[in-house]
């Protein structure tokens, strides 16, 4: 969607900041990040199980994926929130 709204012009920092000023876009962005991480990592888990991982490691796999998802979500928030105008938590 972002690539369309800007047409064939390259997106810029200013364009992103302007978009994130609208609360709707900010809420949608954060929710989308959470949902897509959950949906994607859930799918990855299914693929890993299908590739023949012994079921006794199921809990570790689930815990690992949740950890990966939570960490990615925090890092994603650290990207989105400063762009929307909230102070940054840390640099990486």
């Amino acid at each position: 969607m972002e690539h369309f709204s800007a047409g064939s012009a390259a997106p810029t920092f200013a364009w992103i900041v302007a978009r994130l000023q609208h609360p709707v876009f900010l809420v949608v962005d954060v929710l989308f990040l959470a949902v897509v991480l959950f949906h994607g990592l859930n799918g990855l888990g299914s693929v890993i199980l299908d590739l023949g991982m012994p079921p006794r490691y199921g809990r570790s796999l689930s815990a690992g994926l949740w950890l990966l998802g939570a960490a990615s979500f925090v890092l994603g928030l650290d990207i989105i929130l400063p762009l929307a105008g909230y102070p940054a938590w840390f640099y990486w």
Partner: protein, 122 residues
């Protein structure tokens, strides 16, 4: 069964290809998700706000990147409309017309992809 490892659905009809397509596009999109997060982390670089991010985003002036972007849009459309087909099936409709639903989803993706190409590359 050891023989069936990695291929839980083996019937070699269009339904199996639809399943492979959904899974394949899904894995690709997860990979793209982490790439996307890594690229956008340029927004957190210290220094003048947005300088690093603008440098990263400037890659979109390259026409090759625009074509890659179109490939990404194709992958998203295929996964999305195949997914909607699955939702429709789960709700109980179209059980006897699954192949038609799958082909319809692919055709709709193709149409939207042409629109995207026109918009992006014009």
């Amino acid at each position: 069964m050891e023989r069936d490892r990695g291929l839980s659905y083996r019937s070699y009809e269009s339904g199996m290809w639809a399943w492979i397509l959904q899974r394949g596009t899904g894995v690709i999109l997860v990979g793209y998700l982490f790439l996307h997060l890594a690229l956008l982390s340029a927004a957190t670089a210290p220094g003048r706000p947005g300088a690093a991010l603008n440098r990263v985003l400037a890659v979109f002036r390259n026409p090759l990147v625009l074509y890659l972007d179109l490939v990404l849009i194709a992958v998203v459309l295929l996964h999305a409309f195949n997914g909607i087909r699955l939702i429709v099936l789960d709700l109980g409709y179209g059980f006897l017309r699954q192949k038609g639903l799958f082909l319809g989803a692919m055709a709709f993706s193709g149409v939207l992809l042409l629109g995207a190409a026109w918009r992006l590359l014009a």
